[in-house]
Assembly symmetry: C2
Homo-oligomer: 591 residues x 2
């Protein structure tokens, strides 16, 4: 801030950029960019979640969008220069509303730019300077109190009046989106199969604690308290979500399952059949959001001979508590997060645990991750004024295509720092990888949402031989009381727990809407990196998430707490714009 | 910050101040102060809530405390110069722990200084950089999950184990103190006569909405969300408090009434007899806190002839909803906040309302107050980095003795701005005052906690004649179906509602501990200003609030949300220090 050089450089660049855009002069705009350039846009220009990579892609986008977006009023905000890169925040306006962005200059050229729509013209979200008053001053004989208004709304929405939006899935993703939509005044019902908000956390295994720290996990509008633990225990997370739903005044239908959904293109409305507390009910929302978790239904692997096995076989999603398995021989199939967590829980309960590892896993110690990877989301960052909203923008300012560079550097440091740990773990036969390009956990999460473990204690049990590992060999079949492997070896088992992950979310859509629609939308999540389980072509953003898909009036919301928090804003803006009849021409829409 | 003059001036002053204190050189310290100087100290030097006024008082305090507090490590923080006054934040250390303060220099001399103890050495509050981890990493067969630990604690505290502290009263004051004590690791039970946290708000009249804006009302650790309304409706406030108690993991016994409390000086323990959900139970805490509201039991006035009246007579604390009084003739006795709110609620329900005004009232329009009086607590202030904790410190930096100056200036502006409003209101016969020294609402609140109304609509009803006013004449007696006044006039009434305020909180102590102890402690609240209902001598701080009183191991916590928030920190630190056996020599303790 006190260095005048970046100020002048940024002001000059932004003025030239603004002038070129106002003139609709695409070549002049492109001249301001480096050859290897990236423009990441969230709604502001594209009404899409889109990264344009290289000048040709940017030119195409600008040709298609400049006239109707009419960007203007660019103004620089905070800036800094570090290691030859000048980073500057800026604000701007389009015909749709107010935008914010971050640009990064290398020399005098722009390497990356992020543009985001933050507020729809004339429809600010009811928060901060636009928070509701809570009371109309003055006395009125027709006064309806807050409580009475809430009762009326709760009683009528979904029966006398129809919601504009229904969110299927009342976990964190659905709840955060529900809060955003409410702040935008979009009548919404969240439907959830569990009775109470937070049950999706409460129902998980006993010892579960969030693997990400509190600073990364905040929900919109109401951050976790200053005295909240760094790692939230699962029941406490459940209680937080339940309180959040109540305090945010969301219309939340627990014990409700979606049966089927059919879209009427003429009416622009869905017919959504539900079973609510045992009784059928039909809703007719304009917009339908699937927020049933980042993943779809449980994925199980075929185990030939299971009819002869004689013991219990279950998927990790059905596992609750190790107590039932004390003194049992339990084989856990799968060595990623849920495999480790279930194995530890079983070991703590006194079970004899063997983990069957089918493919290499990225392991990283939680303490190391906290020390090296969460500097943007930390108490220290917050004390320096980088609150969670700023941290999100800074994170998003780097396009997915460039993230492997930083990720690889991070994992180079991690492997060096924890070399002894990794050596000891590998000595047990446990197979470690850091992804095909050594970029570690986060890139795996974006690409496949699987194949990693943040070590909060499981690895030491493996190193100590307390949890045995069977790896490098395939399962042949089950035999009575044991698993037989292709090398002829056997592992005795009373119980088998499949920690084998989940299917893609489009399987949920296939079940509720139709197979045809599910397949048309296709895989959800993943970047198209061409690495294992993430086939190309390259998308540059998460497939089908948070943006228009190959079906009208349908959105997919999901991801961890951080992604749900950040992108719920953009899903909500897309839905609000459609409700208000604001034009939302989508650039790069799926066919 | 960019003006180097205050930097040099502050650094020089603080260095000289620190050097003089380290040398225990009281005359040299005094030489740094202006003649008309004030030192406000919260625990850091005095283990008391104390303002020293003038050099002699400061000298006496320093003589008594410098040796054992050993202040050092003074360091300047943010500073600014405005209108000839240099204001600077600073930090320091004493033998007890970490302190923060604000000093204001006029010329090179200190006019006012605030010193506060913020953290006990070795006992940081579990928040921010010291927040709990939530999980010990590693696997353990004796693992107790968060839920299990909470259940165990809830089941045992008060039966198998004794709390160190019991708070009588589970409204906002008790709840906030409970949260502070929990963050400091002080085993505490809050007892409350209502079943659920928040009921003390829910039980009030239907149309009640907080008169102070959200930015002024935050609770510790967990501020109101960004989308929370400016003025919180009473039931929503109830829900917030209930969620807060749960999320803060407070041990809260609803449906519990304190019967009697007896202190054993030998054991240093109270014997506290309670009725919990109909059953007697005894607790033996070391510290007892009365947090039964800023006021004691309802105050009623004698109404001669009430046996002949024939209608209903009730106190405002028993009033809920105007619906029962539609088409009734209701007389509201009292013209302050509750008098107005009840009158409006009755009018909205269709009652025929007359307000009997017994003494002049300070009225100020809510909109005006928001515009002119809440700049430190506002969305704008928050956006400028003045969060609620900073705003509190800035507010407290001005000693009570100097507050009338700013208050009078504010009310001079208010009377000018709203001259037409006040003229119209006075034309109805309504008697307005702004306090004996024209200092308005806030000083009245500190002095007596009564005699004012923040107008949210009641005044217009009076101006319009919708609510009739009877003022300037005394009630003589009740007669059948009417009130007769000393001038011979009568006002017909089916119902009389006494909005006549509450007794001093020491009446609650008298009832539960003993009359002798209640009287020894004496009046709670008030400054000793010598103005109406606030007899001298001058105290300089609120009488008996938040600090040692004339009985050991007893504290009084109360006030509006803002005062409860701010001072709960200091009550909690006093209790924590006593629990840990940290010496707390009290300067200026009541005898």
């Amino acid at each position: 801030m006190h260095d005048t050089a970046p100020q002048a450089e940024v002001t000059a660049w932004l003025a030239a950029f603004a002038a070129a855009l106002v003139r609709r002069d695409v070549p002049a705009t492109l001249a301001l960019f480096a050859e290897d350039c990236y423009w990441r846009d969230f709604l502001a220009f594209t009404w899409n979640i889109k990264t344009l990579e290289g000048k040709a892609a940017i030119a195409d986008m600008l040709d298609a969008t400049l006239t109707h977006t009419a960007p203007e009023a660019f103004a620089a905000g905070e800036m800094k220069r570090e290691a030859g890169v000048t980073e500057a925040w800026f604000s701007f306006r389009t015909t749709s509303g107010h935008g914010e962005g971050i640009l990064r200059l290398e020399g005098s050229k722009c390497r990356t730019i992020l543009t985001t729509l933050q507020e729809l013209e004339g429809h600010p979200e009811g928060a901060g300077f636009h928070r509701p008053m809570g009371v109309r001053h003055g006395a009125r004989r027709d006064r309806e109190t807050w409580t009475e208004a809430r009762w009326r709304e709760t009683a009528s929405l979904g029966t006398e009046t129809q919601p504009y939006c229904v969110i299927i899935g009342g976990g964190q993703g659905g709840i955060m989106l529900g809060a955003r939509l409410r702040a935008l005044g979009v009548p919404t019902i969240i439907v959830e199969k569990n009775p109470r908000p937070g049950d999706s956390w409460r129902n998980r295994y006993r010892s579960l604690v969030l693997h990400d720290p509190v600073w990364y996990d905040h929900l919109p509008y109401m951050p976790f308290p200053a005295n909240w633990p760094v790692f939230t225990p699962k029941d406490k997370m459940g209680d937080w979500l339940e309180a959040y739903v109540s305090l945010m005044e969301l219309t939340y239908w627990g014990s409700t399952e979606a049966q089927s959904a059919r879209f009427d293109p003429e009416a622009g409305r869905w017919t959504l059949e539900l079973i609510r507390e045992g009784k059928p009910i039909t809703l007719r929302p304009a917009q339908l959001v699937f927020a049933t978790g980042a993943y779809g239904p449980p994925r199980t692997i075929a185990l030939p001979g299971s009819e002869t096995f004689g013991g219990e076989i279950l998927h990790s999603s059905a596992y609750r508590d190790g107590a039932a398995y004390a003194d049992k021989k339990v084989v856990v199939i799968g060595a990623a997060s849920s495999g480790h967590d279930v194995a530890v829980d079983l070991w703590e309960a006194g079970a004899d645990v063997t983990m069957v590892q089918r493919s290499p896993i990225t392991v990283v110690r939680s303490d190391t991750l906290m020390e090296l990877a969460f500097d943007t989301y930390s108490e220290g960052a917050a004390a320096r004024g980088i609150d969670v909203d700023k941290a999100d923008m800074l994170t998003m300012a780097t396009p997915f295509a460039l993230q492997p560079i930083g990720a690889k550097a991070l994992y180079d440091r991690i492997r060096e720092k924890d070399a002894d740990f990794y050596a000891a773990l590998e000595a047990t036969g446990f197979l470690i990888d850091f992804g095909p390009d050594d970029t570690g956990l986060l890139m795996k999460a974006y690409r496949t949402g699987s194949g990693y473990y943040v070590d909060v204690g499981g690895s030491q049990l493996i190193i100590d031989g307390e949890i045995k590992v069977k790896s490098g060999v395939e399962i042949e079949r089950l035999v009575p009381g044991a698993i037989r492997f292709t090398d002829g070896s056997e592992v005795a088992a009373d119980v088998i727990i499949q920690c084998t992950g989940f299917q893609s979310l489009h399987e949920v859509i296939a079940r509720i809407v139709s197979r045809e629609v599910g397949d048309r939308i296709g895989t959800c999540w993943g970047l198209g990196s061409g690495t294992r389980n993430d086939p190309g072509p390259w998308h540059g953003e998460l497939r089908n998430m948070y943006k228009p898909v190959a079906h009208p009036n349908l959105f997919i919301q999901g991801g961890n707490l951080a992604l749900s928090r950040y992108f719920s804003k953009f899903v909500a803006l897309q839905i609000k714009a459609r409700m208000e009849g604001i034009p939302t021409p989508v650039y790069g829409a799926p066919s």
